[in-house]
């Protein structure tokens, strides 16, 4: 069934969009990532103009994250206090990020910068996660006592402004989570994504948060970041397509619920391996596109 999208000005099969939304939603609920790094390329593949894909993707991820947050919140797996600190950092970071983005636009080559940032961050994050989680899995297989990760009394404990994060069972300074939030905000403004794929590993490995709480808390922060992004795009670039978002949402919210339910049945290591593989796959795809000779050297855009 073909649907004409009012802002994108293209006709797209509604079932393709429903399926796409469902897939991204499933991953979102499962891993706690917004799925923006998958959504934008996939929408463009279907024929949606890039600008509309980015802006509408943000809107869709906002809803999927909200659905996911509710599901995680019911089982007490959202650390609102930690989420708040991350969000404060995120807002600060995104303001800086927008400035950098404008600078890059003036210099040209935004596209290339975005691709390179993707490859760098997805590669590093995915690689580290895969190594760590595979190691954990092998240790578990060998029968070595699954060592309870020792709470490292690292830098996060020495800094001032300590705060008790009850849901995460942590008593650390607010400075590291604020900085992580700021980094994610910065990157999400440049890369046009929620930033879950960076935040989830950062919370696990740098803050030492329990994996169970990480997913819900990450979604909580993504929900706000993408909400603000949607409003900014709607008022400044006029590229939010509400009809497209609605179709993606129907699939997305359902997928997020299924994903959240399914995620509870998986082991933490399996979740991390899954996310790591997905991140690496996208990384390789983008890297390949950068290096391989494209079939079409030319591209069109509306002239300013």
């Amino acid at each position: 069934m073909l649907i004409y999208l009012p802002i994108a000005e293209v006709s797209v099969n509604a079932f393709v969009l429903l399926g796409l939304g469902g897939l991204i939603g499933l991953l979102s609920g499962l891993f706690g990532v917004g799925g923006g790094f998958l959504m934008t390329p996939l929408l463009m593949l279907v024929g949606i103009p890039p600008a509309v894909a980015v802006a509408t993707g943000a809107n869709q991820i906002c809803a999927a994250s909200f659905s996911g947050v509710l599901a995680h919140w019911r089982r007490g797996a959202v650390d609102f206090r930690m989420g708040g600190v991350l969000l404060a950092g995120g807002v600060a970071g995104s303001f800086v990020g927008v400035e950098i983005f404008e600078l890059l636009t003036a210099l040209g080559q935004v596209e290339l910068m975005v691709s390179l940032t993707y490859v760098l961050f997805l590669g590093v994050v995915g690689g580290l996660m895969l190594i760590e989680s595979l190691g954990a899995m092998i240790r578990a297989r060998r029968g070595t006592a699954p060592k309870r990760r020792q709470r490292r009394r690292g830098w996060a404990h020495k800094l001032p402004l300590k705060m008790r994060f009850r849901a995460s069972n942590l008593y650390i300074s607010v400075i590291p989570p604020f900085l992580i939030g700021a980094l994610v905000g910065l990157l999400s403004a440049i890369m046009g994504v929620g930033g879950g794929f960076i935040m989830v590993p950062a919370m696990i490995y740098m803050l030492g948060m329990p994996t169970a709480v990480v997913v819900g808390t990450s979604l909580f922060q993504i929900m706000f970041v993408t909400g603000v992004t949607t409003l900014l795009h709607a008022t400044q670039t006029f590229t939010v397509d509400i009809a497209l978002a609605l179709l993606l949402l129907v699939g997305g919210v359902t997928g997020a619920q299924v994903g959240a339910r399914f995620g509870m049945k998986l082991k933490a290591e399996q979740l991390r391996i899954g996310l790591a593989l997905m991140v690496l796959a996208v990384c390789l795809k983008i890297a390949f596109d950068l290096v391989a000779t494209p079939a079409e050297l030319y591209s069109l855009a509306a002239a300013p």
Binding site: M1, L2, I3, Y4, P6, I7, E9, V10, S11, G47, N59, C62, A63, A64, F66, S67, G68, L70, A71, R74, G108, Q109, E111, L112, S115, L116, G227, T230, L231, H233, A234, T235, Q236, F238, V240, I242, A243, A245, L246, L249, V250, V253, T254, A256, Q257, D289, L290, V291, A292, T293, P294, E296, L297, Y298, S299, L300, A301, A302, A303, P304
Partner: protein, 334 residues
Amino acid sequence: MRRGRAVIAAGLCALLALGASWAVAPAALGQGAADDATPPAPSGSGAPRTMQGEAPSAPPGAPAGGRETPGATVAPGGGEVLVLPEGRGAPGEDARSDPDRERVVAALSHNQVSITTTYAGSEIFVFGAIKRNAPARTGEPDVIVTISGPSAPVTVRRKARMFGVWANNASTVVDAAPSFYAVASTGPLRDVLSATENLRHRIALDSQVRTIGAASDVADPDAFREAVIRLRRAQGLYVEAPIEVEVIESTLFTTHVALPANIVEGDYVARVFLVHDRQVIDLHETVVGVRKVGLERWLFALSREAPLQYGLLALIVALAMGWGASEVFRLMRR
């Protein structure tokens, strides 16, 4: 398809019944009838009249340089029916100043295309007749039909390998490129039309996409222009159908042009050229309005006129959907 055939049949019947007079299909021709009823005020001195008291008027697409005839005016009531300017000296001009020259009358199956939520492309049937005051010329007449969407400048970028990766390197602006262009004719354009006439009326796809002025920031602007044509053709936005116009008994003609699903809003101009011996004898021009309607219209207008409200609406819808799905799943679990 069946409906389309019926439209053609009805159109041709009407044309035959009415003897291909100016009264034919008044709805489609619109101003054509009005132009006849009110003779235009003569401007200048002694504007050469072609026939039936119509003032020659310049088609908007006609090149300006030295082409304007002293008395060229646009007929009152809009320029929907256009007569060629009375040029002098150019090859084939004698054919045009002939009072017994042939005329083309044409109509479209619809003059309005509505983009609804379920819009998946549409088909426009163009049909018409060749009107003569004298016996038919020797040789088959040729007919060319073009439909073009609103034109806009386009930025074209080209990738190049830099430090091992492919990145956008050169870019230029192609000043005019129609968002949609279809051309159908009775034969290959090269055979049907002379190069001069093609250039004058910008009929071939190649002459529609153009860079104005020589100043360009790239060494090979033509490669960029060709890229626009290639990419839009791949998207189904540029269509060339050399033998899609069917001429019956050297008098009636019919063709159809498919509008794809990914068209944009705007006024689409349909032109019908009557060609003899590779020279354009007459031109009929009419406008097809392509408009979003209903919900599409409302959402588009809201997003432009009240962007903040539109953005908030998008957010509220998003959050409501998220909450709704969450509740539904909770209830299902019980």
